[in-house]
Symmetry: C2
Subunit: 234 residues, 2 copies
Amino acid sequence: MRTHERVLAHLEEGIAAGRWGLGERLPGERQLAEDLGVSRPSVREAIRVLDALGIVRPGVGSGPTAGAVVIDRPAAGLGAAVRLHVATGTLPVRDVVATRVLLESWAVAQAAGRVADRAPGTAPHLEEARRLLARMEDDDVPAAEFLDLDQAFHLEFVRLAGNVLVEAVMTGLRGAIGGYVAVGIERLPSWPRTAARLRAEHRAVLDAVAAGDADAASAAVKAHIEGFSREAGV
Amino acid sequence: MRTHERVLAHLEEGIAAGRWGLGERLPGERQLAEDLGVSRPSVREAIRVLDALGIVRPGVGSGPTAGAVVIDRPAAGLGAAVRLHVATGTLPVRDVVATRVLLESWAVAQAAGRVADRAPGTAPHLEEARRLLARMEDDDVPAAEFLDLDQAFHLEFVRLAGNVLVEAVMTGLRGAIGGYVAVGIERLPSWPRTAARLRAEHRAVLDAVAAGDADAASAAVKAHIEGFSREAGV
DNA sequence: AGGGCGAAGTGGTCAGACCACATCCGCTAC
DNA sequence: GTAGCGGATGTGGTCTGACCACTTCGCCCT
């Protein structure tokens, strides 16, 4: 076993055991190196991995913001992994689209269910979705910004579904999705016409969720994603 | 931007551009350091991240197996990320179970569809699933080994579904699933009785997929996972 | 009592060195 | 001429020691 892997195993064990909880600080790099009898570069490599996976956030200086703080950004690691694997070419865009349909259609169904059940905390998400939709109504909004709003709109329902893992995976897919959508837009016969249709579809999804109609919401988002995918020829 | 992040960006750009394809070797650490005008430790940190994400595999020595080779093990990075985020406690087991139900019920439905369509390449997966099932029949098999066979059995259908991303996520979840299942088994009133039921449920899933009945397969796997989860009280 | 400045401790980076390992090539012995 | 062996070469893995930028805390001087 390589040295930095021993360090990684030690840190993971400590985190799993609750020795360092969320928001707390790991021992300093020099301290860890001495404790484990390894060199500082080896410790750094281990911490770098945790950094990349969104488990810790290294902070310079002194005081409460200094040191490697245990945080939790699941989307960071998952996003980087998905993005790079798409880059290598072994993760086909087709599979990304299919997975997106699967997760999002489930998410909006869950979201609609929560709304129908009068679950607490749903209102802010719906409000945010309405706000994003309104900003997309503007014909002058450039395509790139429209895409950002579009993605934020979709993510709002995933958050509303209330599954942290699904949300993390979807957030991680965001980069890969943005990539293929941007390419797809170039191939469209007419962006303004497509944008108009996307707006209408977004409204249908929002209405279905707000009405608590899970099946309708699910079908609407499925048609929305697959329709664009087909039209853009990805 | 930190130095190692510049290196990382350079490498990602090169991989995305196809400069280093699958199976090819990155330049040596010393060479990269000189090219980018940075030190070797910074290069190493960047490569370590790619290593952790399953993008490259560092190889010592000389010849074809030496150097950082571009590979692709999507499950490596996703698995590590999921495992660690579960460890921090922000990723509830409930969400992992729900996600598993979602992905697996979709996967077996897809698998059944492929079997019904007489898609090529389905037979070996079904054969492997039968083989695993047979090994689980043995009453003397210890619980730990049963779990390994169980997970392999489930993964076989995910592979059969033919979505690389879903397969990667599920493989990544394997560690987290193994953890909660092992804990759950301790709480069971009677392991032999539960094992017998699990065997029967496995057979039902396999039969439904082999028969090409997507709905039945989906319902069977959903009941299987949720049933155990409830009984084990996770 | 107040303000300023330096000590201390953090991660970020660098330079240089040595090690283990795997291959490749040229020399040597047959 | 050929087969075997041993060193040259190049790879990642690790270590040591050092300096830097930054942030906070506390002592000391005014």
